[in-house]
């Protein structure tokens, strides 16, 4: 029954909201085409059929936050020729990494009546902390056009064409007037990885950093500009600590403003 000439794709979920893997099902125009070129071999959100590994390409969504998942990711790596992480949870630990700055036992007691039933790690960490990752696709959520580009690139043995510059470049290209310069709205765009298409400034709000840090961000300079615009230390801590809080650059910058 199987067409053995087609490469096998697997989609794996760890701690996450499912939004990034949903991006694949949101490719309404491309989905059936894609399925004619690759075999969707293991994608529980979409299918109850499971074709055994190894897989040419594994897309991994979510962060590692339980002892069980820390073991499961090793098995996923063993079965995958290429492993690509998708989204802020998989590449930076996600919003659930806010526990990394707090006492996870206290978090569990706050939420659960019987926290002793809950198995969890004290930190939520990116996949690359645990196994070798071939490529990281950023975003909370990822951009579906970039997802299609990444899948196409790996199927054709080339590097994905995904730029690492800042959101500012996308604003300029889009012709959006800078919200920070013109309106004094604090914006994380200058330090944030491109990919969303500079959405927030186009909607007259400051970027909130959901794609995580760009390649060479100058967060120190940006933070001092925010302070000139009236931001308090606590505002800066919160701004850097959202969906990519545990990425190295945002983490360090948030800690610097904590006192």
């Amino acid at each position: 029954m199987r067409d053995k000439s087609k490469p096998k794709l697997a989609v794996w979920k760890f701690s996450s909201c499912d939004g990034c893997q949903l991006s694949l099902l949101d490719c309404e125009d491309e989905l059936l085409d894609l399925a004619s070129k690759i075999e969707i071999a293991n994608f529980p959100e979409a299918s109850r059929a499971v074709v055994k590994g190894p897989y040419e390409l594994s897309l991994v969504e979510g962060s590692i936050s339980t002892p069980h998942d820390a073991q499961r990711i090793q098995e996923v790596r063993r079965q995958s020729k290429f492993l690509v992480t998708i989204g802020a949870c998989a590449t930076a630990g996600g919003i659930q990494a806010l526990r990394n700055f707090a006492d996870v036992a206290e978090f569990a007691r706050y939420v659960y009546a019987a926290p002793q039933y809950i198995e969890t790690l004290s930190n939520s960490t990116p996949i690359a902390y645990h196994v070798f990752v071939d490529f990281e696709l950023r975003g909370c959520p990822i951009n579906k056009a970039q997802l299609v580009e990444v899948i196409g690139a790996f199927l054709n043995n080339r590097r994905p064409n995904v730029p690492h510059y800042s959101v500012c470049m996308e604003c300029k290209r889009r012709g959006t007037i800078c919200v920070m310069v013109a309106q004094g709205i604090p914006c994380l765009g200058p330090v944030t990885h491109a990919g969303c298409g500079a959405l927030c400034p186009a909607y007259r709000r400051g970027c909130y950093g959901c794609f995580g840090p760009m390649e060479t961000p100058n967060t120190v300079a940006l933070s001092s500009r925010w302070k000139e615009l009236g931001a308090a230390n606590a505002d800066l801590v919160r701004a850097y600590r959202t969906f990519n809080a545990f990425s190295e650059v945002f983490r360090k910058e948030s800690v610097a403003h904590e006192r």
Partner: protein, 439 residues
């Protein structure tokens, strides 16, 4: 198959295990134990890792709750945005009407279309027709899958135009929107929506032609009900067994308990038992507020004004899809751009409540904030957590009637029965509260 073999199966001892439920959002498992032809145990296990949202919200500003809680669920972020926004406005004593209220309904219609069609055509229909997934189904049922993909896209387009992107839209805030859409941006959607409306009618007819296992249960349906409209963001919580309360009485009526086999709390109506939230409840208690076309089409395919067969939820979702297309068209035609896209809201110390109808059922949020707008306490009850016990109860009634099926067939039927609820396990896990009141 011979009667003897069927008989033998019906009397044997079996364990049905689905270690990883497919075609649902999140990580769940199913465990059914049969001994000597008697059903002994049914457990819907939720092992999605907890993310502790309620805990991490403390210390954040009230304006941050919408974007943070949206990340509970990538399938229904609008439900979380709308619910947290309404709860925060309630805490600050603000009620918003006019075009902003309408835009909130419009973007919710987009999410209903997108989420319902995803479930109906891509996740649930393959069960009825015996396919592992919609892609395999598309080989034989190309037209319906292609039409469904396009219909889903129309829903996503509404979310994208009003919200900025399909998943975790950026444009919604406490008080309104960062930028109000221009009239011409919305009217550009109308043509596709008219096509979508016609296609939704086709979808209703198509789903009504599927064959449905015989199961009718005397549910307590719980839903929002509004005086004038099919419920989305506002209303009182009502049931067919006498419940009629304001949203702020949620915790005096519903009880949650933690069980060892699930990371999501089980909900019951105090002193009464399990209840059902979602399309069946909304439809059965708000039929009078559907559009005439949605009512007529539902009745014409043989659906009653009350639907108690959980497998027929696939038809009801299609009816709600038609409603959402019509409601979106109505809003777009009547839309006038607001003078300001949002109302500036100053925080005040207090508690606020929000309750909205997510595609899969009633979602409840409550927050306590201080005078600076810092969140002191957060509690969230998602629809799937409320439905867990009802899903198990359905299986307790369903499985004994079908013990003559082979284990593979029975396993698949059980999975289908779970998928009747379009369960979103990613949502369900994260909100487990521990006591009724901490104030």
């Amino acid at each position: 198959m011979s009667g003897n073999r069927k008989n033998h199966r019906a009397n044997q001892s079996r364990t049905i295990k689905v270690d990883y439920l497919a075609r649902v959002e999140g990580e769940g498992a199913l465990y059914v134990r049969v001994r000597n032809g008697q059903l002994q145990d049914v457990k819907l296990k939720i092992f999605e890792p907890p993310r502790f949202f309620e805990a991490l919200l403390r210390g954040r500003r009230f304006t941050e709750a919408p974007d943070i809680t949206a990340r509970i669920c990538g399938i229904c972020p609008i439900a979380y945005l709308n619910c947290s926004i309404h709860a925060m406005e309630d805490a600050c004593g603000v009620k918003i009407n006019g075009p902003i209220r309408e835009l909130r309904r419009l973007i919710y219609c987009g999410e209903w279309i997108e989420s319902h069609v995803l479930h109906v055509a891509m996740l649930h229909a393959p069960d009825f027709l015996g396919y592992d997934d919609a892609i395999r189904m598309a080989k034989d049922h190309t037209e319906i899958v292609q039409a469904a993909l396009r219909l889903k896209k129309v829903g996503n387009e509404i979310v994208r135009v009003v919200g900025g992107r399909e998943i975790h839209p950026v444009n919604m805030r406490v008080g309104g929107f960062y930028r109000a859409p221009r009239k011409f941006e919305l009217t550009a959607l109308a043509e596709d929506l008219k096509w979508a409306r016609d296609t939704a009618i086709e979808l209703i007819r198509w789903t009504a032609g599927l064959s449905f296992p015989d199961l009718e249960r005397d549910y307590e349906f719980v839903t929002l009900r509004h005086a004038e409209e099919y419920p989305l963001n506002e209303g009182r919580l009502v049931s067919n067994k006498g419940l009629d309360i304001p949203v702020s009485d949620f915790y005096s009526t519903f009880v949650e308990e933690q069980v060892q086999h699930s990371h999501a709390l089980h909900s019951t109506v105090r002193n009464r038992g399990t209840y059902l939230v979602g399309p069946l409840a909304r439809y059965s208690l708000n039929f009078d507020h559907l559009t005439p076309l949605a009512q007529e089409t539902a009745l014409s395919v043989g659906l009653d004004k009350v639907c108690r067969n959980p497998f027929q939820s696939i038809i009801v979702r299609s009816v709600e899809t038609l409603y959402a297309c019509e409601e979106a068209l109505r809003i777009i035609e009547a839309y006038e751009e607001p003078d300001r896209p949002y109302v500036e809201i100053a925080p005040q110390a207090g508690r606020g409540y929000g309750c909205t109808e997510a595609p899969r059922g009633t979602l409840f949020h409550t927050y306590r904030i201080d005078e600076q707008g810092i969140i002191l306490d957060a509690r969230i009850v998602p629809p799937t957590a409320q439905n867990q016990k009802t899903i198990e109860a359905d299986l307790r009634e369903f499985v004994p009637k079908h013990l003559d099926l082979s284990t593979d067939e029975l396993t698949w039927k059980c999975e289908q029965a779970v998928r009747n609820y379009d369960p979103c396990i990613s949502c369900a896990t994260h909100f487990l509260k521990l006591e009724l009141d901490r104030e």
